[in-house]
Point group: C2
Amino acid sequence: ILEVVDLRKSYFLGDTEIPILKGISFDVYDGEFISIVGPSGSGKSTLMNLLGCLDRPTSGKIYIRNKDVSSMNDNELSNLRGLEIGFIFQKFNLIPRMNALENVMLPTYANKRKGVDAKEKAISLLKKVGLEDRMHHKPNELSGGQSQRVAIARALINEPSIILADEPTGNLDTKTGDEVMELFQMLNKNKTTIIMITHNNSLAKKTNRIIRILDGKIDVEN
Amino acid sequence: ILEVVDLRKSYFLGDTEIPILKGISFDVYDGEFISIVGPSGSGKSTLMNLLGCLDRPTSGKIYIRNKDVSSMNDNELSNLRGLEIGFIFQKFNLIPRMNALENVMLPTYANKRKGVDAKEKAISLLKKVGLEDRMHHKPNELSGGQSQRVAIARALINEPSIILADEPTGNLDTKTGDEVMELFQMLNKNKTTIIMITHNNSLAKKTNRIIRILDGKIDVEN
Ligand SMILES: Nc1ncnc2c1ncn2[C@@H]1O[C@H](COP(=O)(O)OP(=O)(O)OP(=O)(O)O)[C@@H](O)[C@H]1O
Ligand SMILES: Nc1ncnc2c1ncn2[C@@H]1O[C@H](COP(=O)(O)OP(=O)(O)OP(=O)(O)O)[C@@H](O)[C@H]1O
Ligand SMILES: [Mg+2]
Ligand SMILES: [Mg+2]
């Protein structure tokens, strides 16, 4: 479902080039649940942003369902980001002036699955992540782990076929983190492809495959 | 060094009272390294903000070195927050327009240890957390775990006698997290009292004592 070919990404501070991804290639098959692991600063979030079409590579190719992402038109990209891919950000990226329910419903304004009642679905997702009694709290009225769970619910509202989760349990206790993992495993059973960055080795071991990033390159694929 | 007596904290949304801390009492002795654990949303960060004098309790008392925090004057509070206590926030709270080095030096502008060269100490701390080559990056040019490490270095610059660390390793891989833990253990050997909120049970086990918060109350102290 996803093919990455010799992906490279550098940042440029002034005219200094800082290479972050130095030639990454791998495939992800439909319905897989894979983990991306590696040291802090190794390039995992950078890779995720490219897969989610939120950023462009310096060079290299990304194919989603055999279509070259760099040759997609605006409509196709908007459909991809809004409906096909659900993105859970490492820093959550919640809207401060909206409450949890409004934040979860936000992706449905631009793109909506036919026949899905956005508000009902949002409430059901917030219940699933244990936030039933925090629905009307704004982000600054939520704990770190509660904000993280709002970000998770928001990524799922349009029933995406691909979930990109950047460290989705970093602020959660073990029990709550396991509940999120169970939710992911249930979605994966229903054919959702999941790519999860995690620092939690015990969670990574529960996935189909682990891709290790080391200093901007793939270290081990097993 | 720290005494908490029947601490209560509620938030008020409109005129609905939401009790968060429901009567917490415990002591922390000079030079201890204690962990605070508990489910997401149980009140740990709320408790930490009260200990760090960044917020006021609804009722109850906090004594630091036998002095009632609520009866301190502005000078004493400023000295406490600026020099005695080092706070590592769950959300980092870095200044976006300043780079890592400037962020780490920030606490020295209002309060400074005599005879400490702020810039030298900041550089040394950034090296200790592995950010030697990221000193001039701003927060949006840093990875999640790198930002977390800048927040750690910043909390240490004034050589506080009490460190309050709210989930300091949530965005770090195991190896980098262990390095941060070693830094804490070294400071603790040198008589620094450390109170650390963590979701990582293996790190909590390395500390002197674990205080578990459950639904706003102390569950187990062992
Ligand atoms: N300003 C606020 N108004 C209303 N409720 C709030 C406010 N701030 C926090 N809360 C609530 O207080 C409770 C405790 O929050 P706190 O941040 O202390 O939890 P925590 O134990 O640190 O959780 P986590 O492990 O997820 O970081 C949460 O249920 C949260 O929704
Ligand atoms: N805008 C930018 N300009 C310069 N360097 C950047 C920028 N954004 C990120 N970086 C650098 O890119 C590298 C990789 O960042 P990335 O966020 O992908 O790491 P990561 O593997 O997700 O780390 P973590 O586990 O800490 O979240 C880091 O060394 C970071 O300093
Ligand atoms: Mg990251
Ligand atoms: Mg917290």
